[in-house]
């Protein structure tokens, strides 16, 4: 008998239990016998597959795998044998396993699978062509619009409900949301508008200085803050802070079936979840806007006094002269609309969430992106309307 013997890792064999070994022997009759020993398991599988594939490439068939000396054979080991057969394209008849220890017979049977046969029942994700994808997207968009209309209707009904029975408004929740939406947002809104007022005053002063029209910095800051930047900046900050929180909160409740639970207990989910948030933001966002206006003007005042040599009283007088009640009310009206947009979109995106943890993140992102877009869109519409009414 001619034997050619390949010893692998002879030292580590004794030291670590994870070692394995093999020996290829040419048979008297025909083919070769591969005598495997040691552990053919998860930690050796990769090495085993590599070594044997390269060693057996040119070996004459049939190949007999002798498993007599194997100490451990797990499913990874069984898979190695299976992969070997496939990689070397050995036909069934020429691939033999001899003397498998009794304990590992069942493990070996694991790899005798035929996927195609068993998996015809359920197919996973289908690959579609572009037209089907387009159609599916259109249908989804329509469903989204339908959902939105239904949502607006549900809000309208719930609002009517609240007017009929004021006690159905969840007062405690509303106060809590007023705190998180309004009070907690005040520091960041104040800081941002103060800096904004500072910037506007500084930038405009560079131009107005050339004409000696320093005092008009006050009018410019006041007008810009009160009619445009105050409402918009407040709305954007609140959309990022609160709109996303509303969406994430409701989306989490949706995917964990809490909303279904509320519904089955006889609560109206819209009345329970949306109306308190809507009311809270409708009250607090205009108030925040007032603060934003105030701090913006204060920022302008700082620049006016420090850099432009204006007196504080002159600056304030000019500011009061420039502003009209209409201007103030217009800005506040806008921020009321933004409030409804932010809380409405936040809640809507929450209710639309489907699936797992990623749905929550998606809802929060969609809420912020959509409400900022709608804020800008509505603001432009207001600008157009404004140009008509003078």
């Amino acid at each position: 008998m001619q034997s050619h013997n390949t010893q692998l890792m002879p030292e580590s064999m004794e030291k670590t239990p994870s070692a394995w070994n093999y020996e290829i022997r040419e048979n008297n009759a025909s083919g070769h016998t591969v005598r495997l020993s040691g552990r053919i398991a998860i930690e050796t599988a990769s090495d085993c597959l590599k070594q044997l594939t390269s060693q057996l490439k040119k070996t004459a068939l049939p190949i007999y795998f002798d498993l007599t000396d194997i100490t451990v054979l797990d499913d990874y080991g069984a898979l190695v044998l299976f992969e070997l057969k496939h990689a070397l394209k050995i036909p069934d008849a020429e691939f033999q396993i001899i003397n498998p220890p009794e304990a590992y017979k069942k493990t070996l049977s694991l790899v005798n699978f035929d996927f195609d046969e068993r998996c015809s029942v359920t197919s996973g994700r289908m690959k579609n062509n572009i037209i089907v994808e387009f159609g599916a997207a259109a249908i989804e968009a329509l469903a989204g619009i339908r959902f939105m209309i239904a949502f607006i209707g549900a809000i309208a009904l719930a609002v009517v409900d609240v007017f009929k029975r004021p006690r159905s408004l969840r007062g405690h929740d509303t106060v809590t949301y007023m705190k998180t939406t309004g009070v907690d947002a005040l520091p960041v809104v104040a800081l941002i508008s103060f800096l904004l007022g500072l910037i506007i005053a500084f930038m405009s002063s560079l131009q107005l200085k050339q004409f000696g029209a320093n005092i008009y910095v006050a009018s410019l800051v006041a007008m810009a803050m009160v009619s445009e930047l105050g409402p918009i900046m407040t709305a954007i900050v609140v959309a990022g802070r609160t709109g996303s929180a509303y969406a994430a909160e409701i989306a989490t409740m949706k995917i964990s079936e809490e909303i279904d639970a509320l519904f089955s207990m006889g609560f109206n989910p819209t009345l329970f979840l949306v109306i308190p948030r809507l009311v809270a933001s409708f009250i607090t966002i205009p108030l925040l806007t007032v603060f934003a206006n105030f701090f913006g003007i204060a920022g302008g005042l700082l620049i006016g006094v420090v850099l432009l040599d204006l007196t504080a009283s002159a600056y304030i007088t000019q500011t009061i002269d420039a502003l009209t009640i209409f201007e103030l009310m217009w800005g506040l009206m806008k921020s009321c609309v933004f409030a409804i947009l932010i809380s409405g979109v936040g809640c809507l995106k929450g209710f639309q969430a489907k699936g797992g943890a990623s749905a929550v993140g998606h809802a929060a992102t969609a809420a912020v992106v959509n409400s900022i877009f709608l804020i800008i869109l509505f603001d432009s519409m207001f600008a157009v309307i404004r140009s008509y009414i003078g």
Partner: protein, 262 residues
């Protein structure tokens, strides 16, 4: 059965904000055993398991996985200990943004260097072991709760761990699926010699699977029984243990099936 302990707890004591949850828990589990942690709702079974897998650190006591004390070892040693264990969480804890196949492949890709195609076959093998080979490309949200549990089991077994921790593996499943899971647990235990630590209160599983059990009790927060299920059912000196194991309600305190207190 080999008698070398693979897990050993010594004097484990846990309390949250002065509320005692577990008091002086000591036991050891020899390799290859199916070991059950049973007890009524709120008896601290899940807390005990969370400490055994190192998710939380106890106030007092030690947890040894083989020779590593996971309560006070280095990060490296802890990682080494983690490689030896697989955990099936009560809620399956599959990653929602990945398909079932990707969930099972995740640890295999990370901790072996097999080629992609081989890993794909391995994933199918693992999934066919739990009867989910046709759901490789489904998201966890697209399959039922029982299937998620089985997929979670497939992921826990992905690297053939020496110790499997199963938190209520058959709770919430239909009797047939539950029996299949029990069968599967037995098969894995026999063929791979995996040590199983199972938190459960399914009586069928307790008697079908358990080599040995400990029972926790919620008033004393201690182990009130330790031994073989059938022996304890009739032979335990503690009336509550006998009642629990024979599912009788005539007892001072209601025990049995219920939700775990968080």
């Amino acid at each position: 059965m080999p008698d070398k302990p693979i897990i050993e707890l010594s004097h484990l004591t846990v309390s949250y904000n002065d509320a005692l949850i577990l008091d002086d828990i000591s036991f050891s589990v020899p390799a290859g055993e199916i070991f059950l942690i049973v007890g009524g709702s709120g008896s601290g079974k899940s807390t005990l398991m969370r400490h055994m897998i190192g998710l939380e650190n106890p106030q007092k006591g030690h947890v040894f996985i083989e020779t590593i004390d996971i309560t006070q070892c280095s990060d490296d040693a802890f990682q080494k200990a983690l490689k030896k264990i697989g955990v099936l969480f009560q809620s399956s804890a599959l990653i929602g943004s990945m398909t079932i196949g990707e969930n099972v492949a995740l640890p295999i890709i990370e901790f072996t260097d097999l080629p992609k195609a081989v890993i794909a076959n391995m994933v199918r093998m693992k999934l066919s072991l739990v009867g989910l080979e046709c759901y490789v490309d489904h998201l966890p949200s697209e399959i039922s709760g029982g299937m998620r549990k089985r997929a979670g089991l497939a992921r826990a077994m992905a690297l053939n761990p020496e110790i499997l921790f199963l938190d209520e593996p058959s709770a919430g499943l239909d009797p047939i699926t539950a029996a299949e899971i029990d069968e599967l647990i037995l098969h894995i235990n026999r063929s791979l010699g995996t040590t199983m630590i199972i938190v459960t209160h399914e009586l069928d599983s307790i008697f079908n699977l358990g080599h040995r059990l400990i029972m926790l009790e919620k008033t004393t927060k201690r182990i009130i029984a330790e031994g073989m299920p059938y022996e304890l059912k009739t032979g335990s000196p503690h009336p509550m243990v006998r009642q629990f194991l024979s599912r009788r309600a005539d007892m001072p305190e209601k025990q049995g099936k219920g939700e775990e207190v968080e």
